[in-house]
């Protein structure tokens, strides 16, 4: 739930999703759900020569389970707020 809320705060930011098959897709985060499935608009693939089949694709839905990393700008994240929320969540779900 915490990470889901974290991604919701990143809505309309430009992020890069790195998949487990090494494909890197940069685009604007439009929505995310509880499985961390991600919808991206206006996408660009990092190495288009290696992935020519992606050239015509503009919008994608990415299944959460194929994601390895999501890269974002540091200024898009309030780290103190994030740590406090993590402590609160650990306290509530833990015991």
């Amino acid at each position: 739930m915490l990470i889901f809320s974290f991604f919701k705060t990143l809505t309309d930011q430009v992020i890069t999703v790195e998949l487990k098959n090494d494909l890197c897709i940069t685009g604007t985060l439009k929505s995310v759900d509880q499985f961390l499935n991600i919808r991206l608009d206006g996408i660009r693939v990092e190495d288009p020569e290696r992935h020519p089949h992606m050239l015509a694709v503009k919008n994608v839905f990415i299944r959460g389970s194929v994601v390895r990393y999501v890269r974002m700008a540091a200024r898009a994240v309030d780290t103190t707020l994030l740590e406090d929320a993590t402590r609160r969540e650990a306290h509530n779900t833990g015991k």
């Binding site: 390895r68 540091a74 993590t86």
Partner: protein, 94 residues
Amino acid sequence: MEDAVNATISEPLDIVKLSLGERVFMKMRGDRTITGTLHAYDAHMNVVLSNVEESIHIVDVNEDGIPQAPRVERRSLEMLFVRGDGVILLSPTQ
């Protein structure tokens, strides 16, 4: 002192909780290692890190099928979400 530490660490994820805001080392699937500052985690070991350095450990094989000396590819990232299913271990660095 040791009793106090042992009292705080009663389940495995507590060691992750104590690492919040600290530098951590993570070993990942696919011969990758990551160091970064931990800002968030959940029960799946999904984490959010900043000032990340990722190392990919690669062993190339030449045309005769003989493995060459291992090499490491490094890259730096300012803010990174790591999906928990690729995590092997997380350890605090001093």
